[in-house]
Symmetry: C2
């Protein structure tokens, strides 16, 4: 490593955290033997589904050959976002839910990761009024590993371990353990993904309301990562109705609705939050790129995006998850303590192996030897500093693989588990 004179922020931010380190190992593995046919169930990269692609292509052809194209690519825009897209967001949410929001409730960001960066550092970090480090509370983990990356100081995140409910021979669900949640003056915001990447958990309306009450009591935002939520991409497999209130900031992404390459994130919340985030974004990057926003404006205002999410994207991943579960039931050794998290949303399967010899990193290596690549679970506990054996007992599998690969992955897993 060259001897660079970096600031504290530079030292924190110039290395990858959590799953991205593993992703480098995966990339190296894939390169190491290009002729080998790997069962790669690691990527968070969604499938380009033909119906979804055709929708985007149709809108793109319309846009490129309209008079809108020149100003869209050839002019700087407002930091808040591309006007027709902001209007489309307002229209879509007021149509799907009776939120009654206006354009003052909306900010467009270059992807939702970037929105978490703004939120986490606006509400978390050192304070110079003698209050020290203000923290962001993740009320439950496992949680999205990217939160570890966005914070400018490694001490900003604090997380809480959940209660585990066993639902059947091979099924479980995480629940928020409110007995472990202690909020005080030092907490600047509460943040969670719902449905949750990586587990597929969707916290219940009751749990959500309790968290909302805490946010309200302390007058801090409850930041909801809605990357898998209805109305789009609608990867929620259980009923859930997002609701709107002064202390809730919804963070929406179009990445699972076919547009990850274009980096389109949407913040929907009280103007006091929007107005604080907007100048931060302006300073960091002026505004989000506009071609993706202009496409999305068309897909939202026509209603097509919500439609295709429910009729194409959701059933696709739901079927894959069912297939993986069935394949495991068929192939895994009898009486082996494996559990899948209940399938409540997302495009991942989350497996817990409740076995004294289970170690996710070792298991990751052993599975690689069988040609199967998954993501070890220990990356998904950002902000949870305590020891807990469960952190080393989980694996994440992406349902972006083909049917054959999913079936072969279950076989590879059973081979390794038999040896454990």
């Amino acid at each position: 490593m060259p001897n660079l004179k970096l600031s504290n922020v530079g030292k924190k931010m110039n290395h990858l955290t959590g799953v991205r380190e593993i992703m480098k190992d995966i990339a190296a593995t894939l390169r190491s033997d290009p002729s080998k046919k790997w069962l790669n169930l690691s990527p968070g990269n969604p499938i380009v589904l033909p119906e979804v692609l055709e929708m985007w292509r149709t809108y793109a052809n319309e846009l490129v050959n309209s008079s809108e194209f020149g100003p869209v690519i050839g002019r700087y825009g407002m930091t808040q976002g591309f006007d027709p897209f902001i209007e489309a967001v307002v229209g879509a949410y007021n149509k799907h839910y009776t939120w009654g929001i206006s354009r003052d409730n909306v900010l467009i960001t270059p992807g939702s990761q970037s929105l978490y960066f703004l939120c986490a550092n606006l509400f978390g970090g050192e304070r110079d009024d003698g209050k020290g480090m203000q923290k962001i509370l993740l009320p439950m983990c496992p949680e999205y590993t990217g939160y570890d990356g966005v914070v400018l100081d490694k001490d900003i995140l604090v997380s809480v371990r959940p209660h585990i409910e066993i639902l059947g021979a091979h099924e479980f669900k995480y629940q928020v353990d409110f007995s472990r949640i202690h909020v005080d003056e030092s907490i600047g915001a509460i943040m969670l993904s719902r449905p949750t990447n990586p587990t597929g958990n969707c916290i219940t309306d009751d749990e959500f309301k309790k968290l909302h009450a805490i946010a309200k009591q302390w007058d801090i935002p409850l930041i909801v990562d809605a990357a898998y939520s209805p109305p789009f991409p609608d990867l929620a497999f259980v009923p859930m109705t997002p609701f709107f209130d002064e202390h809730i900031l919804h963070c929406v992404s179009l990445s699972k609705a076919g547009l990850p390459g274009e980096r389109v994130g949407i913040a929907i919340g009280h103007p006091k939050y929007i107005e604080a985030l907007e100048p931060f974004q302006s300073n960091v990057g002026i505004h989000s790129s506009r071609f993706g926003q202009a496409l999305a404006a068309k897909a939202l205002s026509s209603g097509r995006l919500a439609e295709i999410s429910s009729s194409v994207i959701k059933p696709f991943y739901r079927k894959k998850l069912e297939m993986f579960r069935n394949a495991l039931h068929e192939r895994m050794p009898k009486d082996f303590p494996w559990y899948l998290h209940r399938e409540e949303g997302t495009l991942f399967a989350w497996m817990w192996i409740d076995h004294p010899k289970m170690n996710d990193l070792e298991m990751y290596q052993k599975l690689k030897e069988q040609g199967l690549i998954c993501v070890p679970g220990s990356s998904f506990f950002p902000g949870l500093h305590e020891e807990w054996e469960h952190k080393q007992q989980c694996l994440r599998f992406s349902m972006t693989a083909t049917d054959e690969e999913i079936s072969a992955a279950a076989e590879a897993l059973s081979v390794v588990c038999k040896k454990l």
Copy 2:
């Protein structure tokens, strides 16, 4: 202002700095009387030139209807950038200059503003090794006002006032005043735009080499904002040959080459800098949006972008500047001490009024009364904390106006100056 619990970073970043505050006043002014025909010479927003737009449209039609379109918009990409675009950047710079760079020298960012954000906070900010605040040196001002916005701490930037050379009755040029430049351990990087936004100055090769020698001596990067530089958009009106070395980080933008809406920035430098910036970008926003990158890959690899820059974009703004200068010579009151900065690059005219009663903010208001909107110059001295009357004696005019507007602007200026 609502009572938000913000971190120190949040407090610094949640308000606009410099010119963006003025931009809000300008927007309010324009809205206040929509029927009025304002002479708006404030925007930094470039003109959508027909030849340039047609080039981008042709490539966009190609891209949208190719098999590349699906993966471009529908897949997450590498943080470093879209592969064909990285290759095109390498090819273009090795063709135009004999730099001999490879893909390890390149990082694509969502616009160059975002690249300055990464650079300024990687190399500037608090250090926990007892060295306190590490600073970014701007070796000369006036300078791009956006640098004030990107730093996470208001004490990071430090700037130096220039020497002023009078070149004729109404022409001047800034020169780096090396007698005022003091570099020590506390400086983390040197940063400047060349040609300079807002003045149109292009520091000489000799000045540049001296700055490079200082960077080398202290083993810190010399960060060059090349937003107006050859080979594209090539808004340099004097000969300049960018050169490449271990301690130089070139920051290129496509915003003045017709693509501001797509936010495409390019860092070209030693792998040690690229490797430090890339994870920071990954943590902040995963990667830049890809549609603009894919278009730019075509425009760079065909050579068309450099061509159209030199043959269309450069002459367009150069002619406007000449027109403004001629109009001022015709209309301004005799013996009035006005000076334009020598036209060495950019799309702005920078006027200095060396008069005891000159105050840029008052002048901005008086010109508004004449229907002319410009940008007061005092926003363009980021990091220069000392008093200096010159800070209040300058105005910036954008050459994106029509010929008639430029002529009328000179008339409005002469009216106000006569009264001074």
